[in-house]
């Protein structure tokens, strides 16, 4: 039976209840202080964190600028494609494993790709920057259409995965332009460190135009902020608008600028088709401006493959090919110029007063200096020759004698004036300078300066040039003495067609030769093609008179340089065939230089290709004049 509490009980309970009440109030105050700290003192910080939770930033890739030929024909543009990205913050634990397993099977990922994805995922979470995990990282680039469909179908199971429509580069130009255009590939971690404006998975221009004009072509990526729930699912439109301020919803991308090249795609194709060799180069340049019309470097690579899904084995084959497809022969390889160099010796002789246009030197089939005798192609000898005739028949003895009289250094000086032995200034990446020997640079073991001069006089010995240098030198001879800077970009235009920058012709220097000297050499070059005894007489054209010089450059002894397929030994022992020309002979418009590596005789293996290229140029010119004006605004300035 309960008894009513006595006074003692009350005396006991009341103070304790009061103490209890005090403790309760204190605890409540602690909670309130905590709320004050979180909500008032640090409230803003948490507002930002809550914002970062649901805001997902997607980038809007910028369209890369187009590359067009001189007539406005698109050589390079962008095709729609899809890249796959993943936001680490939106898949955790089991979901992560599930998503990666799905991606592996849907996208047919290699084990190494899966490893890379896992490590990228891990890195995002371990980053000190808490927002790093909200940044999407790359899973795969440029996936095929059917994979896009599969991913779309499983969108809901993989809400952390995003398909980003990304324009990818499409190269429509002939493969022979590979070196000129370059290609695209993913930025390396080192480049990312240097260039914070790039993001992981983005591509950057490699080689050629793509690399040189990266900054103009790139454009600026836009940004899209969307609101997502904890699972990464995109919210409905109304909620989006309520949560993301309008200004942050979409920052549109700025497309890159367009490049208009000096290349004529049709002539490029014609030059490539006319070129018969397995390796070599063709340079077609406007004689009075230095604008490049066609530039073949064979073998080449397909920029479409290089920019996308080239397999490891294909890449390895490309790199181990003895013909070196990645080598840009136009300006990155040295060749003896052979007889094409005789124009330099001729000008040096004239300029230094050794000969006049009418002087006669006699060829007896050989030239002797000390106990060494240099033979002529014609063992019986050419007899007495003028300069014109010497060029026409390409008599070596004439030039041995002339070179010997001119001397090594005056010869080198003339070569330098014409642009040899130094980069031409062609603005497309690294360019080698070539070699022009001087008395100070040769070693005694390699022979006396006289011997060097005699060899150099016919473009052998130490003399090394690039096909592009040949074009510059022959253009100077053709145009009356302007050494031009070869250029391949005509102008830069904004996406809406406004001209942002023009590239006018640039004269590097004037030859400054005495009257009649260039005329004398040109007369010789005309004779080469148009006189019955000329070395390139068989390549003459019916309706265009052109001029040129053949060259057959002896190659170095193979030695033990490389292990070669026996069937290739014969190929590599053959001479390089050259033909350097301009047309029309009387008022030159273009210079065409053909180098056929190991092609044999210049007259047989190079001159016909040049002739056919010249023929194509004038046919195209006639077509353009006869047909309706080319339907492209890009040509109209």
């Amino acid at each position: 039976m309960l008894v009513r509490r006595d006074v003692d009980d009350i005396r006991e309970i009341r103070p304790r209840a009061a103490l209890g009440a005090l403790i309760v109030v204190c605890c409540s105050l602690v909670l309130i202080v905590r709320l004050y700290q979180l909500q008032i003192l640090r409230g803003e910080e948490y507002v930002n964190q809550a914002f970062a939770n649901f805001r997902k930033s997607l980038f809007v890739p910028a369209d890369r600028g187009l590359i067009k030929d001189r007539r406005g024909r698109t050589l390079v543009d962008n095709r729609p494609s899809f890249d796959v990205f993943m936001t680490p913050a939106f898949c955790k634990g089991k979901e992560r494993d599930d998503v990666i397993a799905r991606l592996k099977s849907y996208l047919l990922l290699e084990p190494e790709d899966v490893e890379r994805i896992k490590s990228d995922y891990q890195k995002s979470w371990l980053s000190k920057d808490k927002l790093e995990r909200f940044k999407p990282f790359m899973i795969a680039l440029d996936i095929p259409r059917d994979q896009v469909d599969v991913l779309e179908a499983h969108k809901t199971e993989m809400s952390c995965v995003n398909l980003i429509p990304t324009p990818h580069r499409a190269y429509h130009a002939p493969v022979s332009l590979g070196h000129v255009l370059g290609y695209m590939s993913e930025v390396t971690p080192e480049e990312l460190d240097e260039n914070p404006s790039y993001r992981r998975g983005q591509t950057i221009g490699r080689r050629g135009i793509e690399r040189r004009w990266e900054r103009e072509l790139k454009g600026e990526d836009g940004k899209q902020n969307i609101a997502v729930d904890a699972k990464g699912r995109e919210l409905d439109k109304d909620t989006q608008e309520a949560l993301i301020p309008e200004a942050e919803r979409l920052v549109p991308a700025t497309p890159g600028n367009n490049l208009i090249l000096t290349i004529d795609e049709r002539l490029q194709e014609a030059a490539d088709q006319a070129f018969p060799g397995r390796a070599g180069a063709v340079v077609v340049m406007e004689a009075k401006t230095g604008y490049i019309l066609a530039l073949v470097s064979r073998p080449s690579f397909d920029p479409n493959k290089m920019s996308g899904r080239i397999s490891k084995s294909e890449l390895a084959a490309l790199n181990s090919d003895p013909l070196k497809p990645m080598l840009f022969r136009v300006m990155n390889e040295n060749y003896h110029p052979g007889s094409t160099f005789k124009v330099v010796t001729s000008l040096a002789g004239l300029e230094n007063g050794i000969i006049s246009p009418n002087s006669v030197l006699s060829c007896g089939g050989g030239y002797t200096m000390g106990n060494h005798r240099w033979r002529c192609d014609k063992p019986a000898g050419h007899g007495p020759l003028t300069l014109t005739r010497a060029l026409e028949v390409s008599c070596d003895v004439f030039y041995y004698a002339l070179g010997d009289k001119v001397g090594l250094d005056p010869l080198g000086e003339m070569a330098h004036r014409l642009g040899y032995g130094q980069p031409t200034g062609f603005d497309l990446g690294r360019e080698i300078p070539g070699i022009i020997p001087e008395t100070t640079s040769i070693t005694p073991e390699s022979g006396s300066a006289r011997a060097h001069a005699i060899n150099a006089a016919i473009g052998q010995g130490e003399v090394n040039v690039t096909p592009l240098q040949q074009a510059v030198a022959y253009a100077a001879i053709a145009n009356g003495g302007d050494v031009l800077r070869p250029q391949i970009v005509r102008r830069i235009e904004s996406p809406d067609g406004k001209v942002l920058r023009e590239f006018p012709p640039e004269v590097v220097r004037k030859l400054g030769l005495k009257d009649g000297e260039l005329e004398a050499v040109r007369a010789g070059l005309v004779a080469v093609v148009n006189e019955a005894g000329g070395t390139a007489y068989r390549s003459r054209l019916a309706d265009v008179r052109f001029a040129g010089k053949t060259g057959t450059a002896q190659v170095m002894k193979l030695g033990q340089r490389q292990k070669l397929d026996p069937s290739m030994v014969q190929y590599y022992s053959r001479d390089h065939a050259w033909f350097a020309s301009f047309a029309p002979a009387e008022d030159p418009e273009i210079v065409v230089v053909v180098l056929n590596e190991h092609g044999g005789w210049g007259a047989e293996a190079a001159a016909p290709a040049a002739a056919r290229t010249i023929e194509s140029y004038f046919r195209l010119k006639r077509d353009d004049a006869a047909g309706p004006p080319v339907a492209t605004s890009a040509v109209v300035q």
């Binding site: 509490r5 304790r16 209890g20 109030v25 905590r34 909500q39 948490y46 507002v47 649901f54 955790k92």
Partner: protein, 369 residues
């Protein structure tokens, strides 16, 4: 006993307590609607039903003298233990824990009622026991029976496992013991035993996920990926509420599911996010008032049994509210404890209502002899 003067008795109803309870219930329901807007079923309706059942139960309880609980204490305690044992064998497993018993379409969480049963049986023991009165003070040895009464249900709850409820049950019982006269020296011994017990519990009984939670509390940043995620997201929700909150139904942490368990354990985060500091202080004030009212009832009860019952209920509300709010605002580890009258859950709603009923009953009969 005297039931004839009902009208007089009702004059003594603790109106402020009733009002406070009803305000909390109303706010709780309103908040729950926002917290469960994206749920497939109308959870708030379910909660409202249980609230109704609770209110009816309170009303019915008022007509029965609380002293009847002296008689019902042991049967109630045994039944509660029986249900707990039932959970251990036939309980429904959800997320790795067996906490629920299925009765047809209805689920019951016995651990919620065990707390009440422990309060009643302890109140009865302290009322009946003469040792305290005889010695003037309790020593530890004198308390072995109440300890036994506590340990058995706590151990069963811990086995489910439900660390939060076990902790709260233990805390309620200890609070009641404090209010009996216990020697200071013995309190210190108890504290030492408590620490020793925790160490033992840590090494022997805690499940990895429970250890994880404690570790997470100690260093949430290091566990940001897993267990700490809840704590961090909850603090973000609370903090981002600022002064006035984002508005009902506008809390991004809540609505976009960044808050885990937002309708049960983290219901206060929803409230604080959407109603800010002002709303948070208001709710804390309401709970403080509720506990103070319960202490007031205890201080003015007409007998020792009523006092201890009320103390137990006061402790029940205090520990639940304090641990829950402390947990979601990051001053305590994440242990799953519901916020009374606010969190979604029928069993806890009904148990809390019964607690209120007991308080009203004790208060109603404070002048009766």
């Amino acid at each position: 006993m005297a039931l004839g003067t009902t009208e007089n008795k009702l004059d003594h109803l603790h109106i402020p307590l009733i009002l406070c309870t009803l305000i909390i219930c109303t706010l709780g329901l309103w908040n729950l609607v926002s917290a469960t807007r994206n749920a497939p079923t109308l959870m708030w309706l379910q909660q409202a039903k249980w609230m109704g059942v609770g209110i009816v139960a309170v009303a019915v309880l008022l007509f029965i003298d609380y002293r009847w609980l002296m008689t019902a204490a042991w049967p109630g305690y045994v039944t509660a233990l029986g249900l707990l044992a039932g959970v251990a064998f036939a309980g429904k497993k959800v997320l790795g824990a067996r906490r629920w018993l299925q009765f047809g379409s209805m689920q019951l969480q016995p651990s919620e009622f065990v707390k009440l049963a422990v309060i009643v049986v302890l109140a009865r023991w302290f009322t009946r026991d003469e040792t305290g009165a005889r010695k003037g003070q309790y020593g530890l040895i004198d308390l072995w029976r109440p300890f036994l009464l506590i340990i058995v249900p706590v151990a069963l709850v811990l086995k489910q496992p439900d660390l939060g409820t076990a902790l709260v049950t233990f805390a309620i019982a200890m609070t009641m013991i404090m209010f009996a006269k216990v020697k200071w020296r013995d309190l210190i011994v108890m504290l030492a035993a408590g620490v020793g017990g925790s160490v033992l519990a840590w090494n022997r009984f805690l499940k990895p996920y429970q250890k994880q939670r404690v570790l997470t509390f100690l260093n949430p940043e290091a566990y940001a990926k897993g267990a700490g995620y809840h704590a961090i997201q909850s603090v973000i929700a609370v903090g981002s509420g600022q002064w006035g909150g984002k508005g009902w139904g506008e809390g991004t942490q809540n609505q976009l599911a960044f808050l885990p368990e937002q309708h049960t354990d983290f219901i206060f985060s929803v409230w604080a996010e959407e109603h800010g500091f002002i709303g948070g202080v208001l709710l804390i004030a309401l709970y403080t008032f509720l506990v103070l009212a319960a202490l007031d009832v205890a201080a003015n009860a007409r007998d020792k049994f009523g006092s201890f019952l009320s103390l137990g209920i006061a402790a029940l509300f205090f520990w639940h509210a304090f641990i829950n709010i402390g947990m979601v605002s990051g001053v305590m580890p994440v242990v799953g404890v519901p916020l009374p009258l606010f969190s979604y859950g029928g069993s806890s709603m009904l148990a809390d209502m019964l607690g209120i009923g007991i308080l009203l009953n004790v208060s109603l009969r404070r002048f009766m002899f």
